[in-house]
């Protein structure tokens, strides 16, 4: 996540990136699955910075430049913007030296509609939230990027799920998010991923959860909702608390209060504004979430806001919790 700031926020990188079609994607799936886009990726990922190695490596993470036909142009795996600028310039020069028919072909090499990935479940007429996680009000200082880290994800709700917790259009009317829906929301999105990836919660880890929407005001077709609730997660088990470290008996948890507001358009059946904030205390660490020296207890916040309609359609990180087939 440090690359977001060190590389992609750099003006020289951004100027060059505008000459490309910029894509971000999850590499584990591209490395392993048999879909057309995965095979396309594996056609070039062994060239460049992973080429010529004498020992096998497990990941193909990096920054690649290729043609629409899958011809390798250049690649690098770095957090250094200057290195990326060099790579992009090299790639552009190679691209421009190729005839159009050779570099881009006459038709797309992949049909996105034929690829079965979770993004096909994108709830176009439902609710898509951006979720941000970050430590708040810390007294313990952590040096480096981990001390100011934040992360993001996306939470999805189908239209029928949205309608299930919107109250009647009467002042004071209350709607409760149904237990099964709330459990999914909590298992997938009330996780400590501030500094890195972590696992989803199991159903039995959700010790308590409530989320209530109360009709606070009415304005034509719009209904203003007050959102209130709380969540408590308790988990005990055996897992590692640093990357590839030995598993041992562990506890983790997060107990938080929820508060927010939303505006619901009853005529269209969609939210036009949504802000929900969780503030609470977390403890524990997992193998890849960067808490090996910061078990807490310590305060952490999670903020959910309405995603813009034109935002990239990116699936929830812990999508398997959704159970959508």
């Amino acid at each position: 996540m440090a690359t977001r700031r060190s590389v992609w926020s750099d003006e020289a990188v951004q100027e060059l990136a505008a000459k490309f079609v910029a894509v971000a994607d999850e590499v584990s799936r591209l490395q392993r699955e048999q879909e057309a886009d995965c095979k396309f990726f594996r056609g070039f990922c062994e060239q460049g910075h992973y080429g010529g190695r004498t020992k096998p490596s497990n990941t193909r993470q990096g920054i690649y430049a290729v043609t629409a036909r899958g011809a390798f142009l250049a690649s690098v795996n770095t957090r250094d913007a200057d290195e990326v600028v060099k790579m992009l310039r090299k790639a552009l020069a190679k691209f421009e030296a190729l005839p159009r028919a050779e570099r881009s072909g006459t038709a797309p090499a992949i049909d996105p509609g034929a690829i079965a990935r979770f993004e096909r479940h994108f709830p176009t007429d439902g609710l898509v939230l951006r979720a941000y996680t970050r430590d708040v009000a810390r007294t313990k200082e952590t040096p480096g990027w981990r001390g100011s880290a934040w992360n993001q994800d996306h939470a999805w709700f189908r239209r029928d799920e949205v309608l299930s917790f919107v109250p009647q259009a009467e002042l004071g009317a209350r709607g409760e998010m149904p237990a099964a829906l709330l459990q999914r929301f909590v298992r997938a999105h009330f996780t400590d991923n501030v500094r890195g990836q972590t696992f989803s919660h199991l159903p039995e880890n959700v010790a308590a959860a409530t989320l209530t929407a109360t009709c606070d005001a009415l304005d034509g077709d719009y209904q203003l909702l007050l959102l209130e609730g709380s969540v408590r997660i308790e988990r005990h088990g055996t897992w590692a608390t640093r990357g590839y470290g030995p598993p041992s008996e562990q506890d983790l948890g997060y107990a938080c209060k929820l508060l927010g507001a939303a505006r619901f358009d009853r005529a269209r059946g969609v939210f036009t504004a949504f802000q929900l904030l969780a503030i609470g205390e977390r403890h524990g660490a997992t193998e890849f979430n960067g808490r090996q020296d910061d078990f807490g207890p310590a305060p952490m916040g999670i903020a959910f806001e309405l995603a813009p309609a034109d935002a990239p359609r990116v699936a929830p990180s812990l999508q398997w919790v959704y159970g959508w087939k």
Binding site: R5, V7, W8, Q14, A17, A18, F20, V21, A22, V23, A24, D25, E26, V27, S28, L30, D37, F40, F41, T59, Q61, I63, Y64, A68, R69, A91, R100, S104, P108, P112, R117, E119, T133, R134, V136, A137, R138, T139, W150, Q152, D153, N193, Q197, K257, L259, G260, L277, I279, E281, F295, G296, P297, P299, G301, I302, E305, P312, V314, A315, P316
Partner: protein
């Protein structure tokens, strides 16, 4: 000869080190909501990387690049770079 305190002290210090002090959790209510919200949600500077017009799947990028006759810039990470990585 070590005194009782000298013998106990290392053990007491070890226990003390393992018992992390809880850090106070801010109160979330009407009066603190806006401040806490701004502390959690990234600011414009932190979101500068979004000025690049990222697509979210390689397949979309292949189609767009073919149509526009432009090269593809792919940022591939464990965990989706536009989600949780």
């Amino acid at each position: 000869m070590a005194t009782l305190a000298m013998r106990v002290l290392p053990f007491a210090l070890a226990i003390g080190a393992s018992m992390a002090q809880a850090e106070p959790v801010p109160v979330l209510d009407d009066s603190t909501f806006r401040t806490l919200w701004q502390q959690v949600v990234p600011n414009d500077d932190e979101l500068a990387w979004r000025r690049i017009a990222w697509l979210g799947t390689l397949a979309e990028g292949v189609v767009a690049a073919q149509t526009a006759d432009r090269p593809i810039l792919l940022w591939a990470m464990n965990g989706h770079p536009l989600a949780c990585t």
